[in-house]
């Protein structure tokens, strides 16, 4: 698209390009620095912090992977995220469908109650939730992260799914109802396909949130075999705080795949955020 409109740039446009470029480069540099430092020896990190590694030590990555048990952490994070996100998006879509397409007593009240969750900070219930999960015998299981994780994303997800439902006229659903479809069929065969783009966006945004969650993961899971990546990373960097190359390697292993995934899915991430902020 740009090729066709690429007229010569004016001086002001070059200035804009240059200043934006400098700011973006300076801010992005720490990420690049982290990646190539992961391949250096501790000595090199000390002596020449800016230089590229003299010899690319892939062994750092393997060592960090093994020492930190990053494989387990990854698997735990994937499981928790997949479960929490699918639960949250599915339930929120159902709730948004009910709030916009169905009539039932208490509809407005329920929605209002749900909105409370938009403003509450998670630390405000962390302790009570801890004792509650203990009494439910869920501490140190992945469910201690999945259920609260999904619950805390619900308000925001329902809120946005609802506004998406409101932006679509209910004609299709009404037509299906005239054809004799029951509510369940309407939901699955008419509404879900229609709001699928919004669901996809919510999947992406919730994945970022749940994947990165630290507070609950720190408090509710203390068993090393069940931990998720963010907690694992903080603990790892605490244990090996003097072994710079090892921590850099662990950092690179945990962040680079996410960054690559982000650059692939960039359009969805940004479209999603845009939708959230507009309403």
């Amino acid at each position: 698209m740009s090729r066709a409109t690429e007229r010569p740039r004016s001086a002001a446009e070059w200035l804009q390009f240059a200043s934006a470029g400098v700011i973006v480069m300076v801010m992005f540099y720490p990420a690049v620095w982290m990646v190539y430092s992961a391949f250096k020896s501790n000595r090199e990190i000390f002596r020449t912090p800016f230089a590229l590694p003299g010899e690319w030590k892939w062994g750092n990555l393997i060592e960090a992977w093994n020492v930190g048990g990053l494989g387990t952490l990854y698997l735990n994070s994937v499981f928790v995220t997949v479960m929490a996100v699918s639960m949250c998006v599915l339930f929120a879509t159902g709730a948004a469908f009910a709030f916009t397409r169905l009539e039932f007593p208490g509809r407005t009240l329920m929605y209002r109650v749900l909105l409370v969750g938009l403003l509450l900070p998670p630390p405000s219930v962390a302790i009570a939730l801890f004792t509650q999960l203990r009494d439910m015998h869920l501490l140190n299981t992945h469910w201690a992260l999945i259920l609260p994780g999904a619950a805390w994303q619900l308000a925001f997800t329902t809120f946005l799914m609802r506004s998406y439902f409101l932006s679509i006229r209910p004609d299709m659903e009404e037509a299906a109802r005239l054809d004799g479809a029951n509510t369940w069929e309407i939901f699955w065969h008419v509404s879900v396909p229609m709001v699928w783009p919004a669901m996809l966006t919510m999947i992406v945004l919730n994945t970022i949130a749940v994947w990165n969650e630290l507070l609950f993961a720190l408090l509710f899971v203390t068993d090393d075999a069940q931990r998720t990546l963010p907690v694992g990373l903080v603990r790892f960097s605490g244990y090996h705080s003097t072994d710079y190359s090892l921590v850099f390697a662990a950092l690179a292993i945990t962040t680079v795949p996410i960054l690559i995934l982000y650059f692939i899915l960039q359009r969805h991430v940004i479209a999603g955020l845009t939708a959230t902020a507009m309403d």
Binding site: S2, T5, E6, E13, A20, I23, M27, F28, Y29, P30, M34, I45, P49, L90, G94, A95, A98, L102, M110, V113, L115, V116, L119, L120, P121, P123, S124, V125, A126, I127, A128, L129, Q132, L147, A150, A151, W152, L154, I208, N212, L214, L215, L218, L219, P230, V231, L233, V234, S237, Y244, L251, T254, I258, L259, Y262, F263, Q266, L273, A277, M278
Partner: protein, 283 residues
Amino acid sequence: MLFAAPAMLLFATFVLLPLGASVYYAFTYWDGFSAPRWAGFANFTRALTDPTFLMSFVHVVLYILATLVFEVSFGLFMAVLLNSDRRGFSLMRGMFFAPVVLSMSAAGVLWKFVLDYRTGLLNSTLRSVGLGDWAQPWLAQPETALLFICIVSGWKYAGFYMVIFFAALRRIPRNLYEAAKLDGANGVQQFFAITLPMLKQNVIVCILLAVTGGFAGFDLFFTMTNGQPFGATEVPATWIIKQAFDQNQIGYGVALTVVLTVVVSVISIAYLKISERGHVTRY
């Protein structure tokens, strides 16, 4: 109603129930194991005379004010700067946003290296340009620790606000700017006369996000300093966790969470009421 039931059930169990329980436990002495004993307002009087807790609110307010500068304002500035169809800008927007998808713990660990006294990127840069005297143990001295946490927070979240403002900028009709140009307005005048008023609604939402998000701030503080040095970066969330889990004073910790909830609710409701007067937010 059946369709709303799973969501409401989940929400009630893991958000509303602990919220209600908090209010009850806040009035008790409780170590988390034996039966809670009624304490009346003792926990609350203690909270209001707990200097660290009160200071933690000062810190979090400073942090929120800083996020308004480093995240919201800087994000707005970058949205304007990166608003171009020219080649390269789309990539730059993508790069600028990238830190948002990283976890706070990864960002915290990474920046601890950047700010490290001996080997950190910042001090190395200063030394290499001959300003070695300026090198400081940034996170280890009370005067600079909080400031640098705010900066890291800005690094992480400015992209988020940039994207929001950028999308809004795209909706401003071009002809407004053309009219302004004909009237002889320069770039800065156009920004204050057109851009800012047109973005009013987004600015209001972003400030609300920054304020509620700021009070919930935990990850970065925990990862980078956990309240150190000398309590200079203690925020409500980190202090609450210490009280409840390191000192086994669940009752007192819960009381602190209730105070936090009340403060956040009052501020956000007041804020929404004020902004609703301009018919700008539609909750």
